[in-house]
Each structure stands twice: as C-alpha cells, then as structure tokens.
Symmetry: C2
C-alpha cells in the first residue's frame, strides 16, 4: 500500500498515525473509492500473516454497492493506495472485475481453504508472496 | 509474533482466523499475559508500517495493572507469542521492565517523534527493522 503524508491532521489522528505508521483501528472503517472518486465501500478488517506480521489482505465491505450486497471482498494490500485528499483508499480495479471477484458472506469461512489466498492473488494478477 | 494452531475454534472465529492469517479486529482486545499466566492487560491496536504493510507494534493497554494506570505500551510485534490454551498473547518481559518501558497517555502523540520507534526497539533489546 502507498500512503502520502496526511498533513494538518486533527488531534484525534495524531496518536494513530505518523508518516510511516498507521493504527489498525484507524484503517478499519476507512472509505474506499474507485479511481473516479466514487465511494465503493469501506475497509472491514485486515488479514495479517501471523508469522511475518505482514498485512496480506484488506477485507472490503461493499455494503450493497454495484449490486454486490452485503459481502466481503478481500483485496491484496498492494492494491490499496491512500489518497489524503479523499481521506480514503483508492483501488484501481474496474467495477466488473470487483463484481466478479472472490467474496464471501458473513457466515462463510473461505480462509479455511489453504488455497484461498493464492486464488485471491491470482485473480488480481499478483504473485502470491512466499514468506 | 508466533502463533500456534488454535484448533477446535468456535464458529465466530472461523471467518477471522486460519493457521496462517488472523484478522486485525480479532487481535484488538485479545488479552495479554505474563509468562506466569497472570493477565497484564489487552491489545489496544496495532501500528502498521504503511509502505511494507508490516505490523511493527502491538499497543498494549494495561488498564491500571502494575500500578501503571491507563497508559499505552507499544511492544514490538516480535515480543508477543500466542498461547492457544490461554486464548491470549504471552510476553516474556519482567514486570519491572514493563513498568519502566516507554508508554503514553491517551492525549499524547509519541508517534510524531521520528525516533520513537527506534527507542522502543532499543528498549526491548531488538534491532530496529530497516525496510
């Protein structure tokens, strides 16, 4: 993920963000936009690789946008770019790719499948990271 | 951080944890114990390096334990080990080291100091990671 300096942050932000670091509970709930500035949804949570401590996926909640309904779309972390002007993340993924992307309902357990992560990276055309 | 297989997880856990991945909002609030199994507090949030996507610190809330009061103690992620039997993280740090460790109150902004992270790693005897 790329981040720009947020500059002129309000008081509440000061304890949870620096130029280099950002707090997990600040990322959760942050809005996500397409490259045209249209709001797609927000970050639901982050999936972190236990051993390396690396964030692998930002799980997006699209909240019904694009007719997707209340489903969760895990995006490889590298696909998100922070835009300080928008105050949210931008994903450069066409709507139809997002609509057809791997996603799950609240009661589904896709992470149980050991190949799920690999399929996500594959879908977004990214190499699957080997630790 | 080290994690062990949690095994026999309840339904609610299934969507937020695998053998390799764990959800950020599951880590937040997870209890933290000393090596004797005494509860010290809980994880308040995680500080993530924006560019690399790596979790650098788990910020502990000690909630008054050890006479520390309501302060936040950032611990390098490597210092936490997950214990499935306890259902929480264990830190192998003597109480007096924790009591004297770098910490901040809710209204303080330590992360603004570009050398803060380096001082944290130094305090806990760990090399500061260069990206």
């Amino acid at each position: 993920m790329q981040h720009s300096r947020s500059g002129g942050a309000a008081g509440g932000v000061a304890t949870t963000e620096t130029d280099n670091l950002i707090a997990s509970d600040k990322v959760e709930g942050t809005p996500v936009y397409d490259t045209g500035g249209e709001r797609l949804g927000s970050v639901y949570n982050l999936m972190i690789e236990k051993r390396s401590g690396k964030v692998r996926y930002a799980v997006m909640s699209f909240g019904g946008f694009l007719g997707i309904g209340e489903r969760y779309h895990p995006l490889p972390w590298e696909k998100l770019t922070y835009d300080p002007a928008l105050g949210g993340y931008v994903v450069d993924i066409p709507h139809e790719r997002l609509q057809a992307a791997p996603s799950f309902a609240r009661d589904e357990t896709p992470w149980r499948d050991p190949l799920y992560g690999e399929s996500l990276h594959g879908y977004y055309g990214l190499p699957f990271p080997r630790i």
